[in-house]
Symmetry: C2
Subunit: 233 residues, 2 copies
DNA sequence: AATTTCATGTAATTCGTTACATGATTCC
DNA sequence: GGAATCATGTAACGAATTACATGAAATT
């Protein structure tokens, strides 16, 4: 069976949906373009790709002609077409894969509000139905509000017994969560007022500049860990 | 050898240093008092405790293995069945354990600036030498600044190709990191001004006033609340 | 009396990393 | 021709979770 990672599977499917890629590039996109994801290692990625192929969500397209059974008629010639470099194994989403991804997109389990999961969901909001986006945002918010409740309670209970540093750490942690809640509030407000009803095409952006004041933070801790095989190094 | 979790080991040692406890309580402290820690499960905690005992850093104190262990005379031994009642096991730090913990406290490897590790270190700053605190805070800060650099680069590189949501996620992530940097700056400033408040000779007596932080951390506000139980699950 | 909370554990499983191998291509 | 980077994998291990199993104490 292939109860693979969930988040990795989801992200891979989502990225490949935009365009076919080989493993190496995929990993880079995972770490940079979707900055939220922690750096998955090849030891994780490649086996996952195999599983996805085995499930029929992906097919491999080898660029090399050495293989006699290239069954599927693919028009992608080994050279020329792809900007200068030629990859060994290009993964492409199958129809079933696409279907599976859509299904994952619309399925909102209570998993979807957890830190990493939420970030992954959010990263593909461009492909997500508005209704689902709402559910995810609101789910996340109430998850955080729960968390806040506990933190407040704990703080009240232990206030006297702790030293300044511990207290400060808790205070800071709580503030972070509060910020994320505010951020979510703004996003939800945006969705409601119908900011952009988008479709999957990456069109121009209505960016408000990066110095915007939409305080808060989703990706709290554990983002990227140092990685031996890290890019941009 | 037991290259156990590192952070769990560290936290357990640190908590037990303050006072002996049994496993169940330990876990609660891990989740609440030191709110930063993700909720370790019993499946993680108990085996870890065993390892620590095996290493000689802890000893188990069962209700008293001699004959009459009931502590305060109570309905003991009602279970006619032998084997003694299943007693609480209180763990106490041994001298070696204490020594080991001090060693961990003063050792600053590049691990120490990683997210979870850092939080654990910070939580025990009360027991930590000022000099070491400085190293950890500054190490953490430069780790984050590195991170920011990468994020900025990535953002600049991909700005055009991404949709609004992805961009927003990245923006938000960056802001979070920036915010933590500012926090660290304040803390570092506090440490600096807290040191040698009175008549500072660079050396002199190395009194460590672990409790009365003259520098003063940013104070926090009141949150009074009663509260029933809590448990992260 | 029944339920909840306290308390301790184990086995199987999931998720992911490190370290190791290998080779092709590009840049200097 | 040698280094760096691109590219793909595997085996061994690591850390932590879940689900299971047990039982005592306190509450209702």
């Amino acid at each position: 069976m292939s109860r693979r990672s969930g988040i990795l599977e989801f992200a891979v499917l989502g990225l490949l949906r935009e365009s076919p890629m080989h493993g190496y590039e995929l990993r880079k996109r995972l770490n940079t373009s979707l900055g939220i994801f922690r750096a998955f290692s090849y030891g994780t990625l490649y086996p996952c790709l195999k599983t996805l192929v085995a499930n029929g969500w992906l097919i491999e397209e080898t660029g090399g002609e050495a293989a006699p059974p290239p069954a599927s008629g693919r028009g992608v010639a080994s050279t020329s077409s792809l900007a200068g470099r030629r990859a060994k194994i290009v993964y492409r989403l199958t129809a079933e894969g696409k279907e599976h991804f859509e299904e994952l997109l619309s399925h909102t389990g209570p998993d979807a509000w957890e830190d990493e999961h939420f970030a992954a969901r959010f990263a593909f909001f461009g492909q997500t139905e508005r209704e689902v986006r709402m559910r995810v945002l609101e789910g996340r918010r109430s998850r955080l509000e729960e968390r806040l409740e506990k933190m407040r309670a704990s703080l009240a209970r232990t206030r006297e017994r702790l030293d300044d540093y511990t207290l400060e750490l808790q205070r800071h942690g709580m503030e972070s969560v509060e910020r994320e809640v505010r951020w979510l509030n703004e996003l939800i407000e945006s969705e409601r007022s119908g900011r952009d009803q988008r479709r999957s095409s990456p069109e121009g952006s209505t960016r408000h500049d990066t110095s915007g004041e939409t305080g808060g933070l989703p990706r709290n801790r554990d983002n990227t860990r140092p990685d031996p095989s890290d890019d941009t190094k």
